[in-house]
Symmetry: C2
Subunit: 199 residues, 2 copies
């Protein structure tokens, strides 16, 4: 016998497919939604059903956009001289939250991962090279993740970009601000030592 | 300027209303759903939009049901002699997972909480008393949460139930199985000592 009626079980099953949501969290969410105001549940259902049709990828940088251009490419106040390359659209949001970067972005939609069958052809690399070839870009900041895949992607891109005469930089890897040094793993700490700067 | 297009922001806002889901998790889920197979997203949207209309509360025990009776009340193999009283429908699922209880349930849909304005009238208590008065129930197990509210509810119910000539028990509170004793808080440990049993 199932623990709860089929419509509830179906919802739990769908919620479980979401990243980071296991059986217990899915159950908790489903039972919460059963008691939540009906309007709230229907708004969530409608947002889910409709949001993708209203979205596309920016024709310049591949970020999420509503029209032809994303908000970052359309913003006349941003500088064309610096490009920040990230793996995923969400990475862009995270960089943006720093409020420190006022250039443009380029979203690769992935990272090189031979084991998962992701080669250079699967990533949006050609558009990046074209933007640099067209001129006006002085620096490309490689802000791919500090993972094996992200690092490999950065090295690969640097090799393609440097011959185009552009400055290519990589975001610093080191100990995260605010964390106790004791919690840093040895690879991160080695990177932090390697990247040390003089006072 | 918003960090991402309005349809995506709307979805993030709706996801954030869910319990235990903050801004970062909501973003991660929304961006995941943007890349997930379309069918998966639509199945989740449909499950959300439709599951409540297909559900009602069991007319006997107030558990979630598809028809007049929930699966537990409809099951002829379960005993009518023992009632297990829980606060919420999800609590019932958790008790059921133990596979140790073969009686019937009663769901209160809340716990007494004067500070939140939840008095006895807000809970499904009358139906419980009626079931006991009708006869055939030998024991009522109070499985409300081991919180201030759950404990107050159990004490309140015990006072109403005992005069009806039924055995009233409370689930044991103590140190959770498998956890290191060092992690137990002093209130739990005090309960565990108080409820100690002879070998």
């Amino acid at each position: 016998m199932q623990d709860y009626p089929a419509p509830l079980a179906a919802l739990v099953d769908e919620l479980r497919r979401l990243p980071g949501i296991g059986q217990k969290t899915a159950q908790r969410l489903a039972f919460h939604l059963m008691k939540a105001p009906e309007g709230e549940v229907q708004r969530l259902a409608a947002a889910l059903a409709g949001f993708r049709a209203a979205l596309r990828l920016c024709t310049v940088c591949n970020a999420v956009a509503e029209g032809e251009l994303c908000a970052y490419c359309a913003d006349p106040a941003r500088s064309d001289r610096t490009l920040c390359v990230v793996e995923e659209p969400l990475n862009l949001v995270v960089v943006e939250r720093t409020r420190d970067f006022k250039g443009r972005y380029h979203v690769l939609h992935g990272a090189l991962s031979p084991l998962s069958g992701v080669g250079p052809e699967e990533l949006r690399i050609e558009g990046l090279l074209e933007r640099v070839r067209r001129g006006g870009v002085e620096e490309v900041i490689l802000a791919t993740s500090p993972t094996v895949e992200g690092e490999a992607t950065a090295v690969y891109l640097a090799r393609l970009l440097k011959p185009l005469g552009v400055k290519v930089t990589r975001i610093a890897m080191g100990v995260p601000v605010g964390a106790d040094l004791d919690w840093a793993d040895e690879v991160t700490l080695a990177k932090a030592l390697e990247g040390r700067r003089e006072y």
